[in-house]
Amino acid sequence: MKKYFLVILAILLVSLPFVLFSVMANYSGTDDKSVSMIEQVAPDYTPWINNLWEPQSDFSEAMLFALQTAIGVFIIALYVVYSYKNKKCKA
């Protein structure tokens, strides 16, 4: 069970940036779609503020998403390893 879980994590972590990048290049997210829906429902509305900072390219955006994933996976992996070792010591 645990081995299986770690393998899944590892595969996710390695493949994610590439998956993300290809996904982002080809699809528009629901967030973008909701924006075009807002424009359709309320044509006169203009956004009153822009993002302070935006990733300069699709690639750097994908990498930042991957960073977010990596932070999360890292913490979960630490927890799994820690718990596993703990259990082994007790046993």
């Binding site: 080809n26 528009s28 429902v41 302070l52 930042l64 977010q68 999360g72």
Partner: protein, 240 residues
Amino acid sequence: MYRFIIIAIAVLLPTQLFGMHIAEGYLPAQWAIGWAAMFLPFLFFGVRKIKSISEKEPKAKMLFAVVGAFVFVLSSIKLPSLGGSSSHLTGIALGAILFGASSMSIIGLIVLLFQALLLAHGGITTLGANAFSMAVVGSVVAIIVYRTLKNAKISSNVSVFITAFVSDIAIYMCTSAQLALAFQSSEASFGSNFLKFISVFAITQIPLAIIEGLLTVLIFNLIIKYNSNEIAIINPSLKV
């Protein structure tokens, strides 16, 4: 800790006010402020709750980090879904079941800030509305569903799966409602707006909610396996 969060919010609020999945600038100011005001009490109780829990059980901090990391991972996974669009998961239900609804407001805020500032995904002005739908509605729905299922003696795996699924869908229904409310006009009623927005979110979200359910079951079982004693102290009313 919570002083820092409150100062951070106080500094950030006047400059921008958009939240989770509603893009920056796409919520009129009065709505942005209103949703932020509704979110703040939950954040306040969440910080207090986490403080008292971690005094009772030191390992709670570690488990809270795991629950937060789970939200980090899931909300960063963008998957292609129906209709050629991509969308992502939320991972809120796990923490809501284990730690209670208010605690998730802290994690929701951190994740949304990260995405708003680094990824231009969501925004600071929409932060209140997005945090409200993700962290408040998502986790309150999760707790209600989970308790109902457990009281009906449904097995733990099935309960967790359905809880995560329903919570994910509820978040997107809430976002749709928020947008529909903000953009009501004589030509565009709340009802017709809501249907339009829900058609953007909910349908693409169904396959993702299934994935979310499966991942949540996986990690829920992992935490219960290693830390059932700690969870019993953190959340005594939890039925596993």
